[in-house]
Subunit: 239 residues, 2 copies
DNA sequence: ATGGCTATTATTGTCGACAATTCGATAATT
DNA sequence: AATTATCGAATTGTCGACAATAATAGCCAT
């Protein structure tokens, strides 16, 4: 019997979540999020398959997952392309993200525990350290973690997932636009306000502080590129 | 030349969005949403492929789309299964949906046009008619359209999409749980409040009215099955 | 040169086949 | 009788091949 166990060629495992499609999915997602693949790039099924010694089937399945996740686009008879995130998309994402974050604030006002606040405060301290050390990349990462952790404390998994997926798209765009939010000191100050508001425990105050902070990044963006964002301003009351 | 133009075998069209995978996707989605496929059911790739005279490749691609859309689950070496929506999911979805709807209300307070209000009022009138005629199914459908149309008026496509996808899941569940919200008259009254609030144009008022209405369905649900929802109540401040 | 037409190549769309795994039923063992 | 082992059928996982379509390069006439 023994059967050689040679799924594919050099495939040892594909064990955990398994199925080649899933690992290809994760790999491509990472490449897109990290910027190894640029917006608009075509996904060459053959190249990916051959490079890994597998066939195109699993690659296409992975692409369908990425398609529905919104990271790539599909054009009949043309293939899959890394999605181009327009400024309009960024605008919309900021809006939805802000709505969710504000709601998180309102709920957390009455449900957050001392341990959770401490955890956030710890992240905040790390951010201050990183900021003083001038490590903007670290600050950027810690900032994202602060938001994610905050919203995760609401205990609504769906809300967290949606928030994360929106943030992922925003991250890709920031990377592309080379806007890694240099104005980090504001962000740190605002986080302090968030912590204070959470300690206060007032729903309305929290909601409003959270909303304000969530929009602050967008406001800075507007200041950075006023000509592009101008046309959107009238169509909304974000600013 | 001429080339016969006979993609596949008896394939006439699949022309518009084309690609068999896409049409299978739509077909399965409809079946799941309509309840032709029950939660927990296994998706038999062979059966689907054979019934349509195609191969399993496109079927699997369609399943990957449905998987990422959250309508079906994937288990390695076991296949795809129609997702089972637990009460916990329902609870979470209501929460997120309410957050989005409340935000929509806040924004619409200052941006909605007279034409848009008229459109909503027209739907509202149809609902009243259907209600008087005792056509609860029609009321249910009109109710969903009322909400979708409302949120679409914000002009944020992403927000609309997310809302719709959440509502879709909720719809499946309602169908399964046979809770088609018999208490429709409340809903109609609340819509009147929404229209009034929109005409008033006050952000805070709109946000609060929208939030309240969005939670009303959940409150009714809680009354219907208090024992199941009780355990969730403490973990949140939805009620 | 250059603009359009044709041949060539690259890539996607779909298929059918086979290996690997799981599921179900029957038989064997305690 | 209950549990386990075993075999066979059903189903999934992946592959390689070929047809259809799009992209590219070469050619010709102007």
């Amino acid at each position: 019997m023994i059967s050689e166990k040679k799924t594919g060629s050099s495939k040892v495992a594909a064990m955990s979540t398994a199925s080649i499609a899933n690992s290809i999915y994760e790999e491509l997602e990472r490449k897109i999020v990290d910027g190894d693949l640029d917006a608009g790039d075509r996904i060459n099924e053959n190249a990916i398959a051959e490079a890994r010694g597998i066939s195109r089937g699993p690659v296409r399945e992975a692409c369908r997952l990425l398609q529905q996740a919104g990271l790539i686009e599909f054009k009949v008879n043309r293939g899959f392309f890394v999605r181009v995130i327009e400024l309009q998309d960024v605008f919309e994402i900021y809006e939805v993200r802000a709505a969710l974050f504000a709601d998180a604030g309102r709920r957390l006002a009455e449900t957050i525990t001392q341990d959770q606040i401490d955890e956030l405060a710890s992240l905040q301290a790390q951010m201050e350290t990183a900021h003083k050390a001038g490590d903007n990349d670290a600050v950027y990462l810690l900032n994202r973690r602060f938001h994610e952790l905050t919203i995760s404390f609401v205990g609504n998994q769906r809300m967290t997932e949606i928030y994360k997926s929106l943030d992922k798209e925003l991250h890709i765009w920031r990377k592309r636009a080379l806007i890694l939010d240099s104005n980090v000191s504001n962000s740190i100050e605002e986080h302090q306000l968030i912590l204070d508001a959470l300690r206060g425990g007032n729903r309305t105050v929290c909601a409003s502080i959270f909303l304000e902070h969530s929009l602050a990044g967008f406001h800075r963006l507007q200041r950075t590129m006023p000509e592009q964002t101008a046309k959107f301003r009238r169509s909304s009351n974000l600013a």
